[in-house]
């Protein structure tokens, strides 16, 4: 393709993505796309440029019923809840955002799935530009089968963010409680963690820097009342320092 045609293709791709290419011209462009890798590449490049404009619109929380509908139509209720949930709004009530996590070194990961996903993640990580609250410590928690269930990160602020990435059916009548396990000391509770999605625990005085291991135990609703785990330990993970980029 000569220079002029390449320019034209680029111009049309830009207008196609922006939305100003209309009518018969748009229809013809769409017909050309399946057979033209050049046009498709131009469209993809313009999508990467322009689609982040979506963030110029204010974020709005959707109602819980949207998630219910999604679970219904994808048929993943069994995988998530073990049974058709009767109180889906309850899960949706735990709404949290994941804080930024910078470049980190996956240490001792058994699962190929997470390792592959993290390879992409690591490959795409960019050096932070004056990040206000970066992750300093991380842990991947897994059960006896070594499959990763949760990823935990402690930010510079002390906040702990826990993200569920795998695992199976959760126990609806009980709560997950997160514990720091210092060497030779008693377990210290870090708080309750949602059994799915993302949980953010406000900064506590417990820094994980000197804590080698974290664990999740299954507790009665509301957590342990004794100050120590009363239920079985389901998942554990080793705490590692985040590599500075």
């Amino acid at each position: 393709m000569n220079y002029e045609r390449a320019e034209l293709a680029d111009k049309l791709a830009a207008e196609y993505v922006l939305g100003t290419l209309r009518g018969p011209a748009r229809a013809r462009f769409e017909q050309l796309l399946p057979n033209s890798p050049t046009l498709r590449a131009a469209v993809n490049a313009w999508e990467q440029h322009l689609l982040p404009l979506a963030d110029a619109a204010p974020a709005i929380e959707p109602p819980a019923r949207v998630w219910t509908g999604i679970v219904d139509k994808t048929g993943i209720a069994q995988a998530l809840y073990g049974s058709i949930p009767t109180q889906p709004a309850e899960r949706a009530a735990k709404q949290t955002w994941l804080q930024s996590i910078t470049f980190w070194r996956p240490v001792g990961l058994a699962s190929s799935l997470l390792a592959i996903a993290l390879m992409f993640y690591v490959g795409l990580a960019k050096p932070p530009v004056s990040e206000p609250d970066v992750a300093q410590l991380m842990a991947v928690l897994s059960g006896a089968d070594k499959q990763p269930v949760m990823v935990l990160a402690q930010q510079a602020s002390g906040d702990i963010v826990v993200t569920v990435v795998g695992g199976k059916v959760s126990d609806a009548g009980k709560d997950y409680e997160l514990w720091a396990l210092p060497t030779g000391g008693a377990p210290k509770s870090l708080g309750l963690v949602a059994q799915s999605g993302v949980t953010r625990l406000k900064a506590s005085s417990i820094g994980l820097k000197l804590i080698p291991t974290v664990a999740i135990s299954l507790e009665p609703r509301g957590g342990s009342t004794t100050g120590a785990p009363t239920g079985p330990v389901l998942f554990t993970g080793s705490v590692v320092a985040v590599a500075r980029s």
Partner: protein, 195 residues
Amino acid sequence: MFIGSVTNVEQSAAPRADEVTVMLVACGRGQARAFESLYDMTRARLFGLAVRMLKREDLAEEVLQDAFVAIWNSANRFDPQQSAAMTWMSRIVRNRCLDQLRRPMADDQELDEAILDTLADENPGPLALLAQSKDAARLARCMERLDSASRRSILMAFFEDLSHSELAKALAQPLGTVKARIRRGLMNLKSCLES
């Protein structure tokens, strides 16, 4: 007793692009829990996009739901080398919004309302929101460099789905001027983003 406590959503920093990528890749491998986390991380931004474009929350809910079903069903085709995860997901949502908008229902009155909505936007301006987004930080800086007329035209075209002639009418400017301005604006954006 415990020391930490579970907090509710504060509209603090949105997840970085990388976390969304990890979750989407995991979804491609059938991890339902990762899909739930992906929804947690991105639902407000994508719903916000749909509401902004459709101006109706009920339609936006339908679009969001259908889009996420499509995201789950096609996540195995997501290639992180080709596209940012949020871009990939935004495209699915936006295309569904465009399908809705292009139904033969638009008339002059809807067009006027759409324009008034854009101009009377009481939220922090689009540029301010863009500047807060980590994913769009670069785009925000490049948008700032455009003259305000180009910037406004591009934002209107993106969100209101206006053609050149509709834009010309909305801005009360000649068609040729509007076309040239958008073209220049897009080229400036591209060279800024690719530099």
